[in-house]
């Protein structure tokens, strides 16, 4: 069954080709895009089920045994990331049907979207560092194209900053990979785990660790490397921002977690100290940015930064509970964050603007949208009993267990500030009346728009509710995933044992 591992990136690539060829027939391209995302969801579900029952799944491409060929691996972390990526992929593809106009469709929006998904899924399943670089590039070039598609002035400006920073990150990653290869002579992650453990050269190890932190840190938008994110994420159409917010930064965090559990495990103290400091500063500065802004999407963009801090915190604390918290937080955050951006898009369609000062009255216009925003926003702020509460609870408990009280304090203050900025949106956009002097009044959605825009939001809100109200199985799964990350024996066995057949 290990051939299944190739499908998460083959399917979107195929769909990208087909949607490119059919971009002149929007109806067909739309169907293909949604159908491919549906198939992707089914594939990732079956991979998830297989990993749960059979343990870690590994496939050697072309039949070459592990250190020589290209390896695809899925452990619990990869499997759950694939699954969430597919959920986000499908919901945003549905939302895009009403959000993306004919001009963008003509330019090939669906092809780039599918390529982006291929890059994201490829990064999650690869077991080889150079391959990770290649998938990062696939993802990057697709995201560049999506960001500037249509070529509006604000998009070009935001796009240049995004492209400039991310190209630096790929160069740092390439250099780090080169030096690591020179040091160990291998690029297979499982083999690297053994090879790096055999090196007695702390200086070289620390240097490489810092290079990898910088490379993946730019991609993940950790402090102080995050400034490109709020500069560019409010420029493209909402569907694009939503998928960027949900998936792209999380791929950076996934790469960090993979690197610093498998290749450079805990012995390396410098790396984890840097990560801890970066995590705390990311959490705090991100939320301060969110508190200072008065534009719907800019507030949400700064929240992405702040939440990345929580994810990295789980890695930096490096205990089973902390890593489990990071896994749970990742799932919760991808779902809630994507949902908030989709809601901001619908709010913009209804009121005509993202500026909080110029909109209002949404609660009266659409109580359903207000309820959905309430679920997503207060989950993100960590309000019990929603999913964000359990995610934060795990991380705070992990830091208290290690007697890192000030870490817990920063996490709690950040949560309070998140609540403050969310209630700002709530009060301005939903609660207060629509300003009389604004040029555009409240619009109404057509019934097709209503289905295409609201059903993805409802689905994601339901996931948030289930995660929050029945957390036990999900927390147990996160604990199991964390154990798998810390105890690398199974991973090494699955990858390095030659196939028996």
């Amino acid at each position: 069954m290990s051939w299944l591992l190739a499908l998460p990136f083959l399917l979107p690539i195929l769909a990208a080709l087909l949607t490119f060829l059919t971009r002149g027939k929007p109806c067909l391209a739309r169907t293909l895009s949604v159908a491919s995302c549906g198939l992707l969801l089914l594939t990732t579900l079956s991979i998830f089920a297989l990993v749960e029952t059979n343990g870690i799944l590994a496939a050697q491409m072309g039949g070459w045994p592990a250190p020589f060929g290209i390896t695809l691996v899925a452990d619990r972390l990869s499997a759950v990331m694939l699954l969430v990526a597919a959920v986000v992929g499908l919901t945003v593809a549905l939302f895009a049907l009403s959000d993306i106009d004919a001009h963008h469709e003509q330019l090939g929006f669906y092809s780039y979207y599918q390529l982006l998904l291929a890059g994201v899924c490829g990064s999650f399943v690869t077991g080889d560092l150079f391959n990770l670089y290649v998938w990062f590039e696939v993802m990057l070039i697709a995201s560049f194209a999506l960001l500037v598609l249509g070529g509006e002035r604000i998009q070009l400006d935001g796009g240049i900053k995004y492209v400039a920073m991310n190209l630096v990150s790929t160069l740092l990653m390439l250099t780090a990979i080169a030096l690591l290869y020179g040091l160990t002579g291998t690029l297979n992650m499982a083999q690297l785990h053994l090879a790096v453990a055999g090196i007695d050269n702390p200086l070289a190890e620390n240097l490489l660790a810092v290079l990898f932190i910088c490379a993946f840190g730019i991609k993940a938008a950790i402090f102080p490397l995050f400034f490109w994110l709020p500069a560019s994420y409010h420029a493209p159409p909402v569907a694009v921002t939503a998928v960027f917010a949900g998936l792209l930064t999380k791929v950076g965090v996934y790469a960090l977690i993979r690197t610093f559990t498998l290749i450079f495990p805990a012995g390396d103290n410098l790396a984890h100290d840097i990560l801890l400091a970066a995590a705390l500063l990311t959490m705090f500065t991100g939320v301060l940015g969110a508190a200072a802004h008065y534009e719907f999407r800019k507030i949400l963009a700064f929240h992405i930064v702040s939440q990345i801090g929580f994810l990295v915190l789980g890695l930096a604390l490096y205990s089973p509970l902390a890593l489990a918290g990071a896994v749970f937080y990742m799932v919760h955050n991808i779902v809630a964050k994507t949902n908030l951006f989709l809601i901001s898009g619908t709010a913009q369609r209804l009121t005509g603007s993202f500026e909080l000062a110029q909109i209002g009255g949404l609660y009266r216009a659409s109580p359903l949208l207000a309820a959905l925003f309430f679920i997503a926003a207060f989950s993100l702020a960590g309000f019990p009993p929603l999913s964000g509460f359990w995610a934060k609870f795990l991380l705070v408990k992990a830091s208290l267990d290690q007697a890192a009280y000030w870490v817990a304090a920063v996490a709690l203050v950040t949560g309070a500030l998140t609540l403050f900025s969310m209630s700002k949106i709530w009060a301005e956009a939903f609660w207060k009346d629509h300003p009389q002097n604004a040029c555009t009044g409240l619009a109404t959605l057509t019934s097709a728009d209503r289905i295409q825009r609201l059903s993805p939001v409802v689905a994601l809100a339901l996931i948030t509710l289930v995660l929050g109200l029945v957390p036990q199985p999900f927390i147990e799964f996160s604990m199991a995933a964390a154990d798998q990350l810390l105890d690398t024996g199974d991973y090494l066995e699955a990858v390095l044992t030659p196939p028996t057949n």
């Binding site: 150079f130 670089y133 290649v134 590039e137 990057l140 070039i141 560049f144 194209a145 500037v148 070529g151 002035r153 604000i154 070009l156 400006d157 935001g158 796009g159 240049i160 900053k161 492209v163 400039a164 190209l167 630096v168 790929t170 160069l171 390439l174 250099t175 990979i177 080169a178 030096l179 290869y181 020179g182 040091l183 709020p230 500069a231 560019s232 409010h234 420029a235």
Partner: protein, 126 residues
């Protein structure tokens, strides 16, 4: 030989970073090109430099009978060059488009996505 290549990598990196610190986007791009070549050379050097033969296996044998060069770094560089070429071509096209649309190549003048507050002193006169 390693020393010479290390020096070349160092010079390329230094020049690249210097160019990338410029406000002009075209200079930034040239800096990036130099830096990406430095990264490629770093892969090449990391793969050990030897005066060995090409990695070919004689007919009838399963392994080469004499020491051969390491082909992996070259395969990696090839991939990296192709990817780098694509990315740089895209960036150049983006910069040209931005120049036509925004009328400037100065990164500091591009403040559409993050406009300055009206109360502060702007850079509009430049």
């Amino acid at each position: 030989m390693e020393m010479a290549l290390a020096l070349v990598i160092g010079i390329l990196t230094a020049t690249g970073v210097y160019l990338m610190l410029a406000r002009n986007l075209l200079r930034y791009l040239f800096g990036l090109i130099l830096l990406s070549n430095a990264a490629n050379l770093a892969i090449f050097t990391a793969g050990r430099l030897t005066r060995a033969s090409p990695p070919l296996i004689p007919e009838g044998l399963k392994a080469p009978d004499i020491p051969v060069a390491n082909p992996l770094p070259q395969a990696l560089i090839l991939t990296a060059i192709v990817i780098g070429f694509g990315l740089l071509a895209f960036s150049l096209a983006l910069i040209v488009r931005a120049y036509r649309r925004l009328g400037t190549l100065d990164a500091d003048d591009m403040r559409i996505a993050e406009p300055k507050k009206k109360t502060k002193r702007g850079t509009e006169h430049s």
